[in-house]
Symmetry: C4
Subunit: 474 residues, 4 copies
């Protein structure tokens, strides 16, 4: 993606590199393109360096390249089949198949970045298994010849109730990166939410769309330097995005040890767990590096700031309690143009042992059901089957986001892989609806699911028998 080889003087920048000094020094005097490219959103150099630090072009043939073993890019991304050793796309029958293939195709660093989650991966595993505990209740004698999976989210019509959740660094999976996902979404009729940490500029991602009126959302991490975020919002408005999704579940990055370990083991960086460790310094995994500069101090007041800098509908992402859902559904928040919330635990990458979104959905249903009438409620995390999607809808979700499955579809197969992931989901949704005796997503309701295995696990307000001390804590 970097067309001309340029030489930079990064001496002054070294100490402020989020990935640590070692990562840069180990590549000094060499062509760093291959390492740099898939993990830095385009524009990073321009934003980080002064023009005076660009020393000028160099003849590529005169410089050393780094060894292939340290490459972050994955071997043999391609169409599948043949000599590459990955299975033909037609043999990928479900979303888990794509994860298995991705682990083979991706570099260890890319796999670690995508698959890792916080601490002991408990929330990630919980996300992945919780839908299996909800039973379906198929009805008989319904005419299900014509099943219609279409719905509308945030005023945009989509072919089935799925969107691609924001995920960083798609170019680790495939050179087409987030632009490839954009194309796949356009062709399959769904919507993409583009991450602030995408490995392509928003302009490049939007250029991947199939048509100019293909809807897309932009996910925002607010920076400590608000000016940067305001400038970004201006670009977002101009590019035709249809909503801004404000991420709230990661005021600090979770501890993704697999990500840290693989960086540790790499030749170019040395890892240590988190700031403040006496042995600190060096890099800290891609996850923590990407987080640099993100503000940890947002409050409800900041929605006013956001409103001032975008004309788009606002969606709040990362709600994990019924209290916060009810807060978001207050009149004064709705009047600021908040139209939806995404129940999410950041794919298990923020607080470990945070609840799976379906718990939060059920908690809202029990304690603050008015939310469903005032806001569109979305969920993401752990969706692997069409039945998962259908269950979320039965419980009140308007649509569900998929994160890793889209990246795994991209791995090794590019645009076609993402399309097949989406097609499989759509077909599984259709089958689930038919077997439930339902013809349109609007018909799906509480009567179609048996949630008894989870009912006893949903949060209840503690009923204290005594004590100022405890009440005060709440």
């Amino acid at each position: 993606m970097i067309d001309a080889k340029e030489v930079y003087d990064v001496t002054d920048f070294l100490s402020s590199h989020p990935g640590g000094t070692k990562a840069i020094l180990s590549l000094a005097g060499q062509d760093a393109t291959e390492e740099y490219d898939p993990i830095h959103p385009p524009g990073t150099l321009e934003e980080s360096l002064e023009k005076s630090q660009i020393l000028g072009p160099i003849d590529p043939s005169t410089i050393a390249t780094i060894t292939p073993t340290s490459s972050l890019t994955s071997s043999s991304p391609g169409k599948g089949g043949g000599e590459s050793g990955i299975p033909p796309l037609s043999e990928q029958l479900n979303l888990d198949d794509f994860a298995i293939t991705a682990e083979k195709v991706l570099s260890p660093k890319a796999w670690a970045y995508y698959s890792s989650a916080s601490d002991d991966l408990l929330t990630k595993k919980h996300n992945n298994t919780v839908y299996q505990q909800i039973l379906l209740r198929p009805r008989i004698f319904r005419d299900v010849r014509d099943v219609d999976t279409r719905t509308t989210i945030c005023s945009s019509p989509i072919a089935f109730p799925v969107f691609v959740a924001p995920a960083a660094l798609a170019r680790l999976a495939h050179p087409s990166g987030e632009a490839g996902i954009a194309e796949a979404c356009g062709r399959e009729g769904v919507l993409q939410c583009v991450s602030t940490n995408a490995s392509l500029k928003p302009e490049q991602v939007m250029a991947g769309r199939v048509s100019d009126n293909q809807p897309a959302w932009f996910q925002l991490y607010v920076k400590d330097d608000r000016g940067k975020s305001e400038a970004l919002l201006k670009r977002v408005d101009a590019l035709g995005f249809t909503a801004v999704v404000l991420t709230l579940d990661a005021p600090t990055p979770g501890k993704r040890e697999a990500d840290e370990r693989v960086q540790n083991a790499g030749s170019t960086v040395s890892a240590a767990s988190g700031e403040g460790m006496q042995e600190g310094g060096g890099s800290r995994g891609l996850g923590k590096a990407l987080f640099a500069g993100t503000t940890p101090s947002l409050t409800w007041e900041d929605i006013k700031w956001l409103r001032k800098h975008t004309r788009l509908p606002i969606i709040l992402k990362g709600l994990q309690t019924h209290e916060d859902a009810a807060m978001a559904a207050r009149k004064e928040i709705l009047e600021l143009g908040v139209t939806g919330i995404v129940l999410s635990n950041h794919g298990g990458r923020a607080a470990d042992t945070a609840p799976p979104p379906v718990y939060v959905l059920m908690e809202i249903r029990r304690h603050a059901p008015e939310v469903f009438n005032r806001l569109e409620v979305y969920v993401d995390g752990g969706i692997r089957r069409g039945t998962d999607v259908v269950k979320a809808l039965c419980l009140g979700a308007k649509a569900v986001g998929i994160g890793r499955p889209a990246l795994f579809g991209l791995s090794g197969y590019g645009v076609d892989g993402v399309r097949r992931v989406l097609t499989i989901l759509r077909q599984e949704i259709e089958t689930a609806m038919r077997l439930l005796g339902v013809c349109s997503v609007g018909e799906l309701g509480l009567g179609h699911v048996n949630t008894r295995a989870l009912d006893g696990l949903i949060y209840q307000e503690p009923q204290e028998l005594s004590g100022g001390e405890v009440k005060a804590k709440l």
Copy 2:
């Protein structure tokens, strides 16, 4: 089963072959009997082709045969023991033993077709383990010298409360196919329900019976072309069937990936998951192929249509909610001659995460107990022990169906294997009754089982605190 080798011109038929064009073309110019035979109900050719497309007989010695490796038929079906490598029948002590042997005896395709279930096999596994969570409550000081396992279902007396559930393609297991099962049922005094997708014509199956008044049910998939179903019903009435069982839990086939994968891997067909996949075409697993032409649009009104075309009692199969059980027990439905319902999730082959039938039994017990007084209630799926049968009866079932166990008994052992499967079940039922202190099936009741481990998992109507939106969905 096809006596004379005939040559057919299938050019015009190619595009309408449910199994895809490739499956046919790869056998062009060869003797396709061995591949064709066990997966096509006799009569398929006659129904599908015009007489003009039958080109005439051929001398078998002049044609090539397909290679044994691609054969669907299983190696060494026989009496067990000896050089075949399968254990002597007397060493098969329980139903699981038969499954283990079947996996060895059957071809990979046949095993995949029989053992596969939808998606992640969750419902299949749930079926197989749910009875273990119900505890027995043996009573002491009962004279159990004489235990009588006989009962009556749909007016037919049977030796013990078990019937063979409808399952397709029994000739994949053994050349005697469904006729062999008929003979075994006759000899052991139980009842067979013959599938529309049997690999023998109903006439051939009924010819396998031990006597002309051996009762048998016919399971019906209604075709989009109602005329075909009406013609079939006419034959069914004439053949001496004693009830029609209308299947309702599969308005569309479930996604049986093991079945699809093994077809994928085969030499003669190429698989893809389901209709509408852009890479589609070719075959899609035996399960989906068999389903072709089945109507997805039945409603309660269609019982009237069925009534018009059969004089037999009607049993509805595939109910999975108390609401539908209560619907079936309405006066207007009973008056149409509906005498029973089969609680079934299609052996886990329709909606994955559908409840095991015992959940539905308990749900009806809790929410619509009047059903037990108006209809005979049967269950199938996951029965592996006599104690399973006894538990179902304690909860209100009149009898239970076994599907895979009958096919596994047939695999490698033929009629004798099915007989031994039935004998083992009968003896286990007798033992369970004796140990419970019970002498007749009519004595079995709620007091003989402890279902506390399941009680909290049975569906309850959601009690909504608010909201038009949710109510509307119900």
Copy 3:
């Protein structure tokens, strides 16, 4: 145990041999002592054959012996350590250690007979794990210097609240058999319950006692031929037994497949599962063979018969419901001299999925607590730790029985092994009591255990919303 080699003519007896004809014929013309001895209670020949069928003595040096590989007796029974390959007794630290050693020491047939249980072993596993789900509630600041584990059961003082439950065929473990267990019990101050199916005559077992007033119970299987049982009871009374324990949980033997399989595999017998199997004939596992002649038709009325033929206190064994416990505690039953009940599922060898005795204990506690005031309540099955014993006592048991652990202690180590098993249990009980802050068994109560993990699983009467049909079944 058979001192002089005698020759028998068993031609007429062949067809009535409970173990099948094949078992005998395969040993014809040889010295059958080694095969015959450990599985037949002494006196069997005398009871089964006419005097005329004893042909006379033979010179042992002139007859063939059976091959060692088919021997039922175990290799190297002895004191442990040294060349035998079994660990020194001092390294057996807990009851599970003894099970591991027993599996090594015993012949496959003996191990199969001891360790097998019904069907899928679900009740056996449940017995073994259920105590782990009950939590202890240790109290602090209690003076536990002097802990007294003594108690009294059925008027006999014992050193700690444990007895050896009746188990058949102890000579499969060690030549000292049940007499060895008697000695160990005497030395450790506990009580043995001797089985009708012991591999020694009651006279021989009682001779093993340490003193003449060492208490012992006799467990009775009532025979179809009541005269035989009456004769036996007369001997029992004369021998100084202190109670008769009437077994009620096995009116028919459970299906112990491991036992059947190992017989199947043996050279001298061929197995088939249960009576009535068309392939039947031959032997059926030791468990079923032993059961031959036992009556399946006892009723509450038979206690009067038993009372007539013994002067000893009567204990009923095998109760599994609160209803039957309440029946046993009725005035008319108490007046017949019934003083205690043993909650037991026959070590998982009768009805599979029967509840563990601790469930029944809790069920009685909830639904019929008066039973504890009228009868002594014992439990057996699954006891492996001193904490298990203490928990049973907290819930109301007066003492607990151990079955397999005593046999496993006997295996390889003889009397000393059983003594160590008992010593370990006593020490573990002492430790558990000290850590609970309790000095005597009478102090143990409901406040020392947290049973919440089980509370929701204990049987409740079903509350029916409707229906004559269901009520009628109860």
Copy 4:
């Protein structure tokens, strides 16, 4: 630690050696320093032997040393990395990593002593997994830029709510022993509780502190010989300890079989399980040996005795029921200077199947919430993650103790290892607080955790329907 080699005459002492005679005799005539040193608190010789039994110094070059294979000290304790084969400290990312490394670094005996727990390790495993069943409830839109983890326990300010729980024999891990832990605690701003069974004298441990006013607690096992305990308390007061922690959960040692087995296998000692075993004698594992002389007869009255012999605040350790917590919170106990309680099951090393401390915390919350207002409540056992700490605080704990993790940090890495363990915990606590939306430990409350998975398992008073017998037992 023993500077000059001395020769002792231990003939008279032999029989009273808690570790058995064999352990001593096998080392007779050799230099026993290496075996003796890490498992005996300094001063043991002086306390145990008369002066007359010290025969005088010897030239070390003239004596035999024991073989390295029997050494209790671990191989290669050091800084990690390099030739030692243990990973660099910077690669230890979480507390489990340290456990893995410790198992490699420590001698089998040391590992067995540290890692072993009672009976079947059920309570140990329960401790380690119970926190995972509590879900976090992260709140959004909170300004968490500045998070303050500081708190105060027993009037001492600490940097974060963690203390090092008392654990014996730290010199098995590293020569710096408990003094090394003292230094690490000082540098990281937390508090150490020093064990009576430390492998260094209290004077030596306190000398390891970073400054003279670094707070420290002393854990007391009261000896049968109260005079010894009184003398010890005098030294404790003089040394600047800030509280006395009275251990109450181990009036007798638990049965730690792994510890016993490894002693059994050693060349110098032979094991048997517990006192009273007829094969007894010899040694019994380090755990039991250390316990020798500890009194099993403390009662609530003994707090008065303790008060008389110390001027320090008193903390009671080992409470496991709400009843005892309520007892400790009575006015008369508070007036004796009891300021806190530690809910603890001795790391699973006392009563197996005792509840994890978090159960007790919830039990107190439900049945005796006033305790939290009157006493500081601490917990220990099973803490492995910062989220575990945060959850305990949400439920009412003031701070948590870590035992094994500190020893595992010491293993192979010395002071730096313990520091890193503490740093990791502090950083994980900070991250958890930020992700919960909380800036200070005082804000953590019941609203931040979902305990529904445990709510049904917390002890409830049994509601008896009847019976004097049962009531009396309580």
